[in-house]
Symmetry: C2
């Protein structure tokens, strides 16, 4: 007789076959090794978290409102936080009422709920190349047919979007300081893309985690602000405040928000009341307004260090984006180089990045990689970029295909 514990387990769902350990997940492990400078993660700078303000807010909330903070709460989120988000979006030209805001457990949950409510198996979902990996992962579970559209420095190409939209269920875009490309959609391009979407029978999901992290001037409004009535906006407190609180939001047309609220109730009942009240408290105290200029200065200094190190060290034939905000630089190697194949050697030299392949649907893009400057100080960035550039230089010299190219 076979002992019960040696028997195979029962079957799992077909959609779970599509789940794999992700590159992000494995690389976040890697990033913890003390001898590796990680330019891989996209973590915010922990030294900038407003720990003291949160400590004071926590003390006050648990003294004065502990019953509400520790009890079950409304699925939609608490009223002061929804009102703050609606006002924040109105200031950026988006006309959402507090009732049209759903508080989520990070904006990753917004992506999952949107996948659940909008995507049927085989639904066409239009994404830019490259696109945010967490969105691709969340949507993949609902078995869409992804269509990747090409982009240039001004953003996704209007003719590519126009070709992809007929029959599509949804387009997913990060218009400002995108992850992974560090790219923003230029104003005239945004007008053209918004006009195409406005005329289409597809949802626009506009994801804006980094919009407040600008280095020069505030960025131009996204697409929803240019008039896309079926536009759904995703945002997060992770980059303005701290990701460990897991607080984000979705704003959209009321009928969709009502469905998302019902999906969220089945998914986790509601986002932690305590965390929502903490953040409502620090928002009231102006912590974000005081913190954002500091964050912008820190990330701008690191962006500068990375761009000048790339300029100083990278050989001919390498291109990269010059982000005006956010946390990422996107590097394009000569077409014969494979960034994933190069990664173990880079790690051996003490520098980690994310190969770009994983961010792309459609045609391969093996010669791309993502660098983040968010968690490392300027001198360390300069050293790591110099080592990475040396490795790429040597590889190019030893690859006959590259020499003859």
């Amino acid at each position: 007789m076979i002992p019960p514990s040696a028997r195979p387990l029962p079957a799992i769902a077909q959609r779970a076959q599509r789940l794999r350990t992700s590159a992000i997940h494995d690389l976040l492990q890697l990033a913890n090794r003390a001898d590796v400078v990680s330019l891989a993660g996209g973590l915010p700078d922990a030294a900038s978290f407003p720990a003291d303000a949160l400590r004071e807010a926590s003390d006050r909330v648990l003294r004065e409102q502990s019953h509400a903070a520790l009890q079950y709460g409304p699925t939609e989120g608490i009223a002061p936080l929804r009102a703050w988000v609606a006002a924040h979006l109105r200031a950026q030209g988006m006309d959402f009422t507090p009732d049209q805001v759903l508080i989520t457990s990070g904006s990753q949950q917004g992506l999952d709920l949107l996948g659940k409510v909008l995507i049927d198996p085989g639904s066409r979902v239009v994404v830019e190349r490259p696109s945010y990996l967490g969105a691709l992962q969340a949507f993949t579970l609902y078995a869409p047919e992804f269509v990747g559209i090409e982009a240039d420095v001004s953003g996704p190409l209007p003719e590519a979007l126009a070709a992809a939209l007929p029959g599509a269920r949804m387009a997913y875009l990060q218009p400002r300081f995108s992850n992974p490309a560090g790219r923003s959609i230029a104003p005239e391009r945004a007008d053209a893309l918004a006009a195409l979407l406005r005329a289409a029978d597809a949802w626009l999901v506009e994801d804006d985690p980094y919009g407040e992290l600008w280095f020069g001037a505030p960025p131009a409004p996204g697409l929803i602000a240019r008039g896309v009535p079926q536009g759904v906006h995703l945002g997060t407190f992770s980059k303005m405040l701290a990701p460990g609180l897991r607080l984000g939001w979705v704003a959209g047309p009321q009928g969709l928000i009502d469905k998302l609220v019902q999906a969220k109730q089945a998914a986790d009942l509601h986002t932690a009341s305590f965390n929502q009240m903490l953040v409502a408290e620090v928002l009231r105290a102006g912590v974000i307004e005081r913190g954002l200029p500091v964050l912008r200065r820190i990330y701008r200094e690191r962006r500068d260090a990375m761009l000048s190190a790339l300029d100083a060290n990278m050989p001919e034939g390498i291109a990269w984006t010059k982000p005006d905000g956010g946390l990422f630089v996107w590097v394009t190697l000569p077409p014969q180089l494979d960034a994933a194949a190069l990664l173990p050697q880079a790690i051996a030299r003490g520098v980690a990045y994310v190969p770009g392949e994983t961010f792309n649907v459609g045609a391969p893009a093996r010669n791309t990689l993502r660098l983040s400057y968010s968690t490392v100080d300027a001198p360390t960035i300069r050293g790591a970029v110099a080592r990475l550039a040396a490795l790429i230089h040597e590889t190019m010299r030893h690859e006959p295909a590259l020499r003859s190219a």
Copy 2:
């Protein structure tokens, strides 16, 4: 030309058609009216939340470990919390390692992740009658074929489980102080059910939110502790500590946990680091050990008040469960009475409950309702039960079908 805002919105997914505003959701709104005594909600008693201990823990965590508490964290959960859960389950006869524990955003998220990973459209899912509404809601989105099995005071009937298991993907049970029935599976019955499941090619999902809230002696172990190797355990800190922190767990076979971790990464990256560290801190300080005897005493006193009020006031022909723990009493009216139809009159008399129909798959059970004694003090419970009993009494006298029955 039609203005864009007047155009219909794009299509949503078929599964989202199955989403409706739930009875729980609407009734939680109802429960907030000051002139209604709500025996409807299943909220824990807010006065028992350990607010001071959490305030001290929050202060310490944000002084000493703010970077970790406010940064992104591991999808699986933080190590000290996973270790605590594994030890807690071992003490109840369940052999799970910390690696086999996934920390979730409340146990509701465990239900959603299990639905996502285990249920294909049409998968047969076996549930007891009545069953936890949140589980039915979470699973429904994945389009299973539910099979409801009958139960008596000792728990689900073995012959009903035996008939339902062939070809089933999963059985979902609450063996101890179940919601809504306030029912526990008797030890011999549990042995018989565990033997059937052990021999079956179906997952067992054992949900135990109330196991620590016992009134006489600790309850007998559940089914997994009797040897069901494909058993998956769900638990929560919501009833031992506070639901507003949204912390629960899933423990199960390693291969399944690995899939659930991947599904959770796509769903919300991870559960709030800060909340996990707070709870790890109060666990270390012994807050749960000190708090549980107090909770047991409070709920036992309220259970006693409800049972004696039912005894003293309910007319002949009404039956109810006598829970040895947990938060709920399940009432069965004469078959001709409809608890949902009666609810507006009950509310007019200042008492709310949940009609039982919503908790049942399969044959209707309109003559049932759920009462909770968790949030109301003993004198208020006595008054509310007396008013409800009077309404039922009057209704029975005026219903000819009932008089002749």
